[in-house]
Symmetry: D2
Subunit: 344 residues, 4 copies
């Protein structure tokens, strides 16, 4: 059994990692940590996990190193980079669900997160945990930068379109459920502020997922990619729908666009390309590690429209983290991740 | 008192027209009609209107002409054009909340609605009921084509950008609450199918509001405008948020963009342009005839982002219909329409 | 014009008072106060009220006395009783939407609210603001204790059943939308904690509305009434549904029960008793000062079931406060309150 | 491998049975049937199950008998009793998620369901599938009447209170999510009719789950039990919360009540009794076969309050059906059912 510790276990992301690990046949959760509620039972904050009978502990490095083979970090930015070097030095693998190891350039990290990077030397060692693009490098690696929820949805839509993405700006209009904002007391996230409302926020290139998408897309495409990323908050718990707009190439049709996507993802267990005319809905991914992709072609106005649906806590966070664990430890990639979505 | 009849009184649009007329000091609802529940009390289908003590009647032309000075039609397409000529001939004014008189070209109507037009001669006489653009022509007119909910949101965002809109395709990503789909027994609109879900539909230029937006925008701009219209269904009752993307002109800033919008709508009672940095949310328009506009500028990727929020049943239907009634009858335009949004 | 000040103007209750006063023909809002955001525009916290162009001010007694004829207090308990005596002494009338003047016995107040009462001498002077029971005393009075949202729903259901209510315990199972908990940053009220969930809380006689209901019911019935009050939180913004269970008297039928309720409330503008077989839903009260009542009779198990639906911010708070204002100032009781519910 | 057929596979209940069976290590779904969409892929109606690559078939008896060891029936009442005798005669076991085999008295069935019973001789053979009460009889049986969702929640709350339940009427105020009403095109279930609303329905003993609860409770208690069952519809997809009220016995305390429940359910894998002061919420059961129970004591008014939370499609339908399958086939009862709830 692989021994796993989960840091940030009282949050939505940490809770979902534990939910998935409970059903994983080769992993045992041996330690759950918290920054402020140490000593309390996990079930007090996550009643659905009370049966595990785990007690929240402080994030103690030697303890983690001693009792875990891998540490999932679901923490505010800045916290992971403080602990990762020590864990890696002690031979413990790290999957960071936060942003600390996603950007390769420490200055870019500082520019967007307003913090100096604590271990820039690890940035090149960290592997960006999008298995559909970087499976080979993830296999057996020690430090994974688990992608952001929005970047996961957007990059999976973009990946089959290398040339197109690198020759004109990519427009992304994204819609997210509320759990993506984390679990916290915040008036802006109160039920009556969010319910019966659509709220755009951090539009036009100021959201922190912008440089992440651009960096990975540019690297993947082998040329600079410019992305206008525009997120909106929608009244539901889970789910991201990213609608991606690209200029339509001459001769492109819905059939051809579908064919290209379908070929690109042929054999991928977690990416399903819907037939032309069919469009993804977030509810068909609820609780899973799946990404649904659809295509549409606007011949009148000249746009290729790519639609990507995921569960922001699933393929957008915890599900992908477990997929990465499987790759890191040489397990079949789908282990513990094949349950269908919860519908309705 | 102006005597008003409301056709389609059991639907969401018809109900909202009545709700607004109840508070209108110069209008009395004298007749409410239905295609199939004639004889039943209105309050059986619209309990919130039971106090009016009205009985649903069939849509009888002489009765309507006899008892109404103006008829609001909130009907499936095809139904309004069957009755409007007779009413107009008898001197009754008509406000059609449906699509029958929006497109000026009867062939275009047939192409999109799969019906021959019953009275093409009225199409030139019908005035497109967007007062912010066509106030002068609406004053005193007899037949109003009340705009679609999506076109209202989009056109108000676009109107200050004539040159830009006519020189490159306009990309619209729109999100709507569920009431826009009407009141009917339809599995696709069932609570458990819609709730906790984002669902794109009729993407990439196949939604019927596409030609409406293009026709009005082209006419307004004096040059052909191409629009890629992409709607999404969101789990809430009311509200439309349209996010409109245009190429960024050199030298344009958020301040300048705001200034242009604010100047354009200076003095408009129902359009509020938010300061740069502030973005509209649909909930602040709930139940009202207001449109909130915001702007953002993506200098990295080169887009001007315009955001428009309305209540699809308010400024997107019933509110605007009452605003048009005020213009048609020479009343102050804001009569009966100044109540604040219901928040939360 | 009556000059009104609204204290706690950034909250849901205060905001809804202002929303109603905007449409009130005889009232002008002259001052809005806040405990912590003084100096900011009201529209920053309540964008739907931005058109009023009011600035939040601190709660200064001389200013209030100088600029207001009546003060609406929508404040945490303890705050109203600190200011009310001074205002009354200066001839300003007070409508307290909080709990400070509802309980007649200062020791009971202390027992339930853990505070000594600051002005027990005012408790007998305060009139409990349920017009359907206490209209005569409310007319022209100076200090109104506006009822709690739950007590309003429950007492209106109980009032026609004096003998029954005083001879056996009254069982109340109440369900409320989330706005009743106020506007604040609180993890328990976060969207993802409340959405897709039913949550019972403060069951079995520990909710603070218990003594309020018992006091008023006992006084009204002329005999001690015992109530088991059991509230549940439901994922919606507004609305309270109280289901009230009483033992079934021999010979009672749904027809007779309906008749008794209908007779009791004959002529009441804001209470509507539905015919037997029809049951109230909260959505038909949204945004209004209405209470819908329904009755059902369980002959098998021997229960009379009374169902009461209100908008917790309408008849349960702001609407009733304005109704009380009308009574206090000798205006027609329905002034500014007759708009239909916002459906859907 | 046990070969399972699922009838009514396009509905919510049938879909959830399949969802659970996908993760069950000893069951393979070999056939899925429908009354009207035969020939279409299952994934067209249940996209989350598309990976199974099953085609909907008509409900053909020989085919079912040939290809299934057990048939799950998630059908409208009347349909199961037409097919069950033939299947049983061919040695196929049946788990009926509908109402056809729940009531032991065929006349009572007819009185409540307005149909003669097609195979009254099977009624005594059918075992009521509530394992916590009838585990021994369920082991190895051939025909299971899977309990209704409401009866499951109510009976699990009542079971530890035999004497009390049989000496005075039991009052149940139940709240349910919308999926309990099934998947169908019905205006009353449309999003805008259900959302932002609480709706009582079939109050006061007229809901069909009333005789089911009374029959099982009476049989369990060994004396006639009278239940006043009062359901309410709440705007969420899944979940039932039943609040059960009983007269308080002298000397009863929350501690004692908790103790009795906890002892009664000691060792039960799917029933969790919360400590005094803690109350169940439906969201902690989402997607699972768990029942959460809580107790509260109202000393003032004299009521014992029992609260029961389940997922209506989980322990209230599909989860319990799989639990029954495990018992029927001699598998460990928890097989395939131990995944934690999906939170949030």
């Amino acid at each position: 059994m692989i021994r796993a510790a989960v840091m940030g276990a009282t949050g939505y992301g940490g809770g979902d990692v534990i939910r998935l690990l409970v059903s994983h046949p080769h992993v045992q959760v041996t330690m759950v940590t918290t920054s402020s509620q140490a000593g309390q039972p996990l079930g007090q904050h996550q009643p659905q996990l009370a049966a595990l009978d785990l007690t929240l502990e402080p994030a103690n490095l030697p303890e983690l190193a001693d009792r875990a083979d891998v540490v999932f970090m679901s923490l505010p930015h800045g916290a992971a980079m403080a602990l990762a070097p020590g864990l890696l030095a002690r031979g413990v693998r790290v999957i960071d669900l936060g942003a600390d190891f996603r950007l390769k350039d420490p200055e870019e990290y500082t520019a967007w997160y307003h913090l100096p990077h604590a271990c820039p030397e690890l940035l090149t060692r960290a592997v960006y945990g999008l298995p559909e693009l970087y499976r080979d490098v993830l296999a057996g690696c020690a430090l994974v930068a688990n992608p952001g929820c929005y970047p996961t949805a957007v990059l999976l839509a973009l990946a089959p379109w290398k040339e197109l993405a690198s020759t004109s700006p990519v427009l992304v209009d994204a819609k997210s459920g509320v759990s993506g904002a984390g679990r916290k007391a915040d008036l802006a996230l109160a039920f009556c502020e969010v319910n019966e409302n659509i709220k755009p926020y951090n539009l036009a290139g100021v959201h922190r997922h912008t440089p992440e998408i651009e960096q990975v897309a540019s690297s993947w495409c082998g040329a600079p990619v410019r992305v206008s990323f525009n997120p909106h908050l929608v009244p539901m718990n889970r789910g991201i729908l990213a609608t991606v707009y690209l200029p339509l190439e001459p001769g492109m049709s819905a059939q051809k666009a579908h064919h290209r996507c379908a070929q690109f993802y042929a054999g991928e267990p977690f990416v399903q390309v819907l037939p032309p005319g069919d469009l993804p809905q977030t509810r068909h991914t609820l609780g899973t590690n799946r990404c649904l992709l659809g295509v549409a072609v606007d011949h009148r106005a000249g746009f290729l429209v790519l639609v990507s649906a995921i569960d922001n806590l699933g393929k957008g966070a915890a599900g992908q983290a477990v997929q990465n664990l499987n790759l890191m430890f040489g397990l079949p990639e789908t282990t513990g991740l094949m349950g269908p979505a919860l519908v309705p």
